[in-house]
Symmetry: C2
């Protein structure tokens, strides 16, 4: 059976041009060719990340940088804002790093309330806050600006934001919002194969890291800063993926960021319309819905695994049957990456053909 | 200028078939397709690694697993065996992880003496030893079997071995030698783009990790074991590189391990003959020379950067002008990966044409 076209929330479909870019001959990573490759991507990555600071490249999945943020920054206590599988896990990872951690836990499907963050931080003792911008498990997009503004009311509290599934699909104003660590994977809206993370670290976060002895080497932010200044990485970089990244950054800049944001929003709306016209409900409340994926409540009580399978086998499209504890109670459709109105419509047409078999 | 063919000690040239394998459509990494991909590579990787234990896949360069070994295993004191850039750095990384560390330091170009290891371990207090099998900076291949036998004379001392630039090019008897962590990158003799590491962990090392609270999450050996048992990885895997790995494992098994070892040795000998016939000396002593690369002493006092440049510009081949503090005093030629007698001979012919200009 040929591999299905992916409409799962990452990884997503890779364009032939990206694969072609990734297939260029290798280069040594300690020479001028590599420095040129590295430097060529900085302006585009900075524009996507909304920052004038360098964008670092980590040979890891995003979890590596999520753990690194804990190790580099937390000295006293970290507050993890938990509203789904990935943000919940960050609390667990904080503890595994031997840090004192507390959390605000909201029900899956709900966003983080900025007022609750303020109240919690007022209890004192926190020096770091972690937030997942776009909770890929629940389809919730948290109110980033409002939460960042609350964190900035406090002195010396650093804000770490995971934008794994929103990066390049919605505007992220890292510098303006005072985000101290912004991080993302590349296998979501950036439409690259996984295996690479990008991140930005504020001056304040670098200063904090400097006085922290728990940084290790592989994920030491100061090593990224030192090597980044020379257009290089601390450890061996994933060169093929960086060729792909260079291609995608060029593609994104050619499309234009505003056009890219608008395309994601329009494609996302098509999925929303499909929900509405088929009597399904959103898992996330209005105003807090992701623009890169839709988590759909299974309020019509269909056989989700069967539905996913029928769409795959009958039409060659893969959607996702829900994550973790809401598997089957929800299903998910991604519109991130290179998708077009036409490709989304093709999927929705297929869903329409299959759905009747699964309704009472 | 087109990119040169690489004869540097990693990354090395990638075959078109590998790039083609890497360009297959993405798959979700939490489904059956991925489990099948993961499982398909285990027998081959186990044969290459000389183990009946699972071979784990880390979304990182080898330094990630090198640091992980320190964090997972060291409780008392680690002994780092230092004989070149990479093994020396491991001592630094051990300290950065907050561990008590001592080292045996030999001059660059010399191998580690097993007798010295025994004497040092007899001082007591050590629970972990790190060894770089094939020091890529100096071209020294350390006497792995002898050193492993010495470490095994002691109770409860775990041996961690970096085979980054020897894995798949020479036999590695992980289980037979009692190696507790064997690790390698894939951008050397495995002839893949960088960004992925493979490693094996003994039962004893897993037991040690279990009682160690400094494992974190991203590089927690127990997470690799738990997920590996389900043919999966703890964090998002670099799927394109894994397609490439699957292809290279098949290629290596089709070639046959003995044939592969013999090919590397024969190609390495061609480089050795070139040295001898041109009056150059080895940087490493006889009996301790790598079979995947040759580090050449610049005893004829040529302008190494000029020589490297002339070979690159005149012939489209890239050799390496020496690493770190022995840059220019040495230069390096790799024969790892897919090279043949013919491709090595092409390089040596080019060197012969360029060399006379650089001799007094």
């Amino acid at each position: 059976m040929p591999k299905p076209k992916l409409f799962i929330p990452g990884p997503v479909d890779i364009s032939p041009a990206t694969f072609e870019a990734m297939s260029a001959p290798m280069i040594g990573h300690r020479g001028k060719d590599f420095e040129t490759l590295y430097a060529s991507m900085q302006p585009g990555l900075q524009a996507i990340a909304g920052t004038a600071r360098p964008v670092f490249l980590s040979t890891s999945s995003a979890w590596g940088v999520m753990e690194a943020s804990i190790r580099n920054l937390v000295r006293g206590k970290v507050l993890n804002l938990c509203c789904g599988a990935f943000s919940d896990k960050w609390f667990d990872v904080s503890q595994r790093c031997g840090k004192e951690a507390e959390k605000i836990q909201v029900e899956w499907g709900q966003p983080i309330d900025p007022g609750a963050v303020r109240a919690k931080l007022q209890e004192g003792g926190f020096d770091t806050v972690t937030l997942v911008h776009n909770e890929t498990s629940t389809g919730v997009m948290n109110p980033l600006s409002d939460i960042a503004a609350v964190v900035k009311e406090f002195d010396d509290i650093l804000l770490v934001v995971d934008t794994v599934s929103s990066f390049s699909a919605v505007p992220i104003a890292t510098d303006e919002l005072g985000i101290d660590v912004l991080l993302a994977g590349v296998q979501k809206a950036m439409a690259l194969p996984p295996g690479l993370s990008v991140f930005v670290v504020s001056e304040a976060a670098l200063a904090r890291a400097e006085s922290n002895t728990d940084r290790g080497y592989y994920f030491d932010f100061l090593e990224f800063a030192k090597n980044g200044a020379k257009n290089n990485t601390p450890s061996t970089p994933p060169i093929a993926l960086l060729y792909g990244l260079q291609h995608m950054v060029e593609t994104i800049m050619a499309e234009g960021l505003e056009a890219r944001y608008a395309r994601h929003e329009a494609n996302n709306s098509l999925v929303h319309q499909w929900l509405a016209s088929n009597g399904f409900e959103h898992f996330a409340p209005e105003g807090f819905r992701s623009r890169t994926l839709t988590t759909i409540s299974n309020n019509r009580d269909i056989d989700v695994p069967g539905f996913v399978k029928a769409v795959r086998e009958g039409h060659g499209f893969l959607i996702n049957g829900g994550y973790g504890k809401i598997k089957g109670r929800t299903f998910r459709i991604s519109n991130m990456g290179n998708e077009t109105a036409e490709s989304i419509q093709d999927l929705l047409t297929a869903l329409n053909e299959v759905l009747p078999e699964f309704l009472g």
